[in-house]
Subunit: 488 residues, 2 copies
Amino acid sequence: MSIPPEAFVLPPATRGSLQQRIRQMVTEGVLAGRFRAGQKMPSSRGLAQHLGISRITVTLAYAELVSSDYLTARGRSGYYVSDSAPRAPEVPLRAPRVESAEFQRLIAGRFQGLAQIDRPADWEAYPHNFIYGQADPSLFDHQNWRLCAVRALGRKDFAALTQDYYDRDDPLLIEHVLRTILPRRGIAAGEDEVLLTLGAQNGLWITAQVLLGQGRRGAIENPGYSGLRGILSASGTETVNVDIDADGLPPDAIPKGVDVVFTTASHQCPTNATMPLERRLALLDAAGREGFVIVEDDYEFEMSFLKPVSPALKSLDTEGRVVYVGSFSKSVFPGMRLGYLVGPPSFIKAARALRLMMLRHPPGHIQRTMAYFLSLGHYDSLINRMRNAYRRRRQVMEEAILTHGLSVAGQGGFGGSSFWMKAPESVDTEVLAERLRAEGVLLEPGRAFFDPARPVRNHYRLAYSSSTPVRIPEGVAKIASGIARGLG
Amino acid sequence: MSIPPEAFVLPPATRGSLQQRIRQMVTEGVLAGRFRAGQKMPSSRGLAQHLGISRITVTLAYAELVSSDYLTARGRSGYYVSDSAPRAPEVPLRAPRVESAEFQRLIAGRFQGLAQIDRPADWEAYPHNFIYGQADPSLFDHQNWRLCAVRALGRKDFAALTQDYYDRDDPLLIEHVLRTILPRRGIAAGEDEVLLTLGAQNGLWITAQVLLGQGRRGAIENPGYSGLRGILSASGTETVNVDIDADGLPPDAIPKGVDVVFTTASHQCPTNATMPLERRLALLDAAGREGFVIVEDDYEFEMSFLKPVSPALKSLDTEGRVVYVGSFSKSVFPGMRLGYLVGPPSFIKAARALRLMMLRHPPGHIQRTMAYFLSLGHYDSLINRMRNAYRRRRQVMEEAILTHGLSVAGQGGFGGSSFWMKAPESVDTEVLAERLRAEGVLLEPGRAFFDPARPVRNHYRLAYSSSTPVRIPEGVAKIASGIARGLG
């Protein structure tokens, strides 16, 4: 295979004469392993044209490189990287990496020390993977997703695939969100009240940028989604933790002077509590009285297999106080990165302007594929299949939990994809999690969900989204055994 | 086609008795047009199970809906939406949209009045489209992109497609960026010095968030990329405009006290000037002396068909002072939204942490598709094809410009995809652009590129990226005629 002329960049004139620079260009590439023994060099004419120099100059350089054994000539066939050229070392030699002190000065304190999600990249290799949020290949509708993606790659859809939408969204997908998805949550919205995002994380980030920041105050559930803590903290927002109870967020416990209240009302993260209707109405009333707005993160609403999901908080919102954050990632797959925000027109307008500046728009191909997946009914089938699987897995996990005497801390009347667990007071579940890896068990320590000022160390989350029924009992048994043996 | 049970959400208990709520659920759906005449209702068993109520309750409600002519019963076949049910009005009746005043208070002044990119959504319908940055279907390698995308959808790549990468990137694509793309710019980088982005816009946004903000000062080229102005302004950074000359940004003109200098050194946006080597070295020296860092936006480097592209500014950076912003969007297609940042490890680390919070990562499927497109050589072929086409188009446009006596303001020795033009002093090119639309001509007024405090109204940009040679002369003629007739 020929090395294309474009792979050659002439070092700058500071590096010596033209002949020297041409030679360096080749030798550095060979030493760095970019040009390998036996690869064909561009013709002298082709390289000369690319570099904007005369052909004879290249030919002279090639001849010199042959005598220094970097290249070899094969008659009329051309020049090749020599088999006996100096080889690239196993670890390529590079100048030690220098960094201007100015970077340290500018970055200091920013985006450091935020709670990183600590999950091993090779999580699939663990027999007992109780980590939340990864895709389960056995449940995913691979074939139909592929068909929809291929269809969205067709010539007819070329514009959707390739053009820069700027600040707009794929009209086909918006149509489906407005007519099919949102009504299932009881939400009626118009086109100027919805915006596509790169997933719920992106939706929460955008929301915090638009509504909060320095000098503003945001209230979050405690325990609550750890990613949200990081978002508020990074934006300079003052974060107020509101302790939840068995029914989720208590409106009475929200202090005065809060600008935005974040809630996972239908399915509390991480305790799985469902906020009852009366409390939802009370929360909306409080918003009116105290002058805050509400951000509802409606994750996992599709996994309502124990009893029907209650309508979203937003469906009760007659005064325009709620921003709704939705996502396709939990129900389709996380790597797709697609979600939506629903809110009052002025909020959506500002969010759209911000999204344009941040990243323009989610890739057109992904949007169109999702639109087809929805319109052809595959989404509904997938949700049903996932629900049935999760129902079965939950049963198995519940039995195993009972059998081995572990304690459930949160009761999800809803369904969902995990149990919120509580180990004995003295157990540090971060230590427990670390030690159980050696036994092939992955679980999520609960500390990241709590207010860092009042750490709680003995909770943990066990998800069944990535575990088949046959693997669950043994994994749970190992956890129980680990706790009993004082591993945590 | 049967309406799935999931499409039915029971209104809350505040709306009346269970029977009333079931009826409202159906009647509202019919009136809103979501359930259409002739559609089959779920079985009473299926709906009862979904709603968690008794089957007899549903049957009673169905019977009531039949007598009020919303539904019709067809014997054993089941219940259907009646042909004579009340129809949805042409424009669905919705409650007037209410918005809490709190949103206005929180949003006021944010992300408002930013220079919006004003391009008609139906740009393809214009015979003479001289707008920069859209994909040209005739040049795009549709077939091979499709093959690579399909391959990236295979079972083998399932993990890349579906999993949540959190803060990591597709190793296959990173490998290609490090070994194939960056060396062509003379840049040697390690894995901890590169981060994938959602395109150059996203890369610039992230960079500004990491390095700038309130109390910091950023210098930009004037005229310069308008999107960058918006990013700096939105972040609260004090923006300093540095007037460029025929060689781009003059290092001597950068005032003291600047933290970050943004430059498009290889191909100045919008004037197409190329910064000579001596000036690049001077800029790097100035960075060291004055204590600022440099952000190099290397857009369009692939479109170097007039003469070989000079190595990137970053390739001369021995002191670790430069952040490099790259993008695949100009060379592959904008709707893909993929790019990369290259910089010192501490910068990349902070940028990665921020990206995780903002949006996690670019979709896995897009990353893997790009990796295949690169590894199979299709990217190189596409670049060559685009270069040849652009060379031809540029020739045609240059001839037309000469023929019709228009004035070029910037000389691109490099190549590129546009001409930077200057109309007579008295012409307002925003007005000219507006009026020329009626004649099927789209051009970009230059005002958005300039410092708003010192507006310049008579420049404009003519891109040939979306125009075939046959359409160019007539379009240019119309522009000349429009100027002569005083349209602007």
